[in-house]
Point group: C2
Chain length 139, copies 2
DNA sequence: GTGCTTGCAAATCGTTTGCAATAGC
DNA sequence: GCTATTGCAAACGATTTGCAAGCAC
């Protein structure tokens, strides 16, 4: 699907900046931070400002067009893939990987627990990723 | 159990400050931030510094004596209860509640997935808590 | 007295805010 | 022209760092 279409589907009025940021999210499954997106897009969009990147990502998250991940305490990360999946943060290299949600948890759908209305479910794992482990790249 | 004992069990050399912070965590299930702990302890420990609170909490987390929660993008929160449970963040009032992990997920014990070594599992829910929902206290 | 712990002040850095300039209908 | 969007610079605030002083064995 195109970035432009995706914005319309989430009731987001398209603009050059919004399309560029959505396209970046759709073509990079690296769970970038706002700063990374700004740095990457900046060369080809010299007038882009960091404020716009922050505003846009916040808007995407609010409209359900992207996920806001709080797995890393250093900064917030974004994911253009809004389907059900878990995330793994490598404590050594800082990369975030996608992981499937364990089969046993898939059936669990909760919208309310102990009176609290649940709007988002986050499944985070933290540890040492395969690459760092094999390289003994542990700090 | 006493805070002092708890420190020893986690190979943490006890000190006045460390005991006070551990005691605070053990008697408050409010998932405080470093700043909250500092503000609460400060009156009775006037010489306590924020740096020490940050250092101590980091040490506790490293030694497995406390959990470091990244559920809130505003700041990191700490939990003295290291047993298996989930967390719920109210997007309206910001409070963090403990929740049981769904029965179906309890059996899932993973230490390695797709080659990545898993050291921590975090189960976060976000939404509107019972109190805020009943009060229509939604922003 | 050596090494760990503490505390102050300053620095860092991700993120937000205020507000003026701009673009799109 | 009116409203929403963008962008710059400044502000903010949580956390970290450098380093000197204090404590414990």
């Amino acid at each position: 699907m195109e970035a432009y279409q995706r914005l319309l589907e989430h009731n987001i009025k398209p603009s050059m900046q919004r399309i560029a940021i959505m396209k970046y999210l759709m073509t990079h499954s690296t769970h970038p931070s706002a700063d990374v997106i700004y740095t990457e897009l900046s060369p080809t969009m010299p007038t882009l400002s960091k404020t716009t990147v922050y505003n846009t990502l916040k808007l995407f998250a609010e409209q359900g067009a992207a996920l806001m991940l709080t797995i890393d305490d250093k900064n917030v990360n974004f994911d253009g893939d809004t389907s059900l999946h878990a995330h793994f943060l490598c404590k050594s290299c800082g990369r975030i990987y996608d992981l499937p949600v364990p089969e046993a948890s898939k059936s669990v759908e909760m919208y309310e627990v102990e009176g609290h209305r649940i709007l988002e479910v986050h499944n985070y794992y933290k540890g040492i990723c395969k690459e760092c482990f094999e390289k003994r790249n542990i700090d």
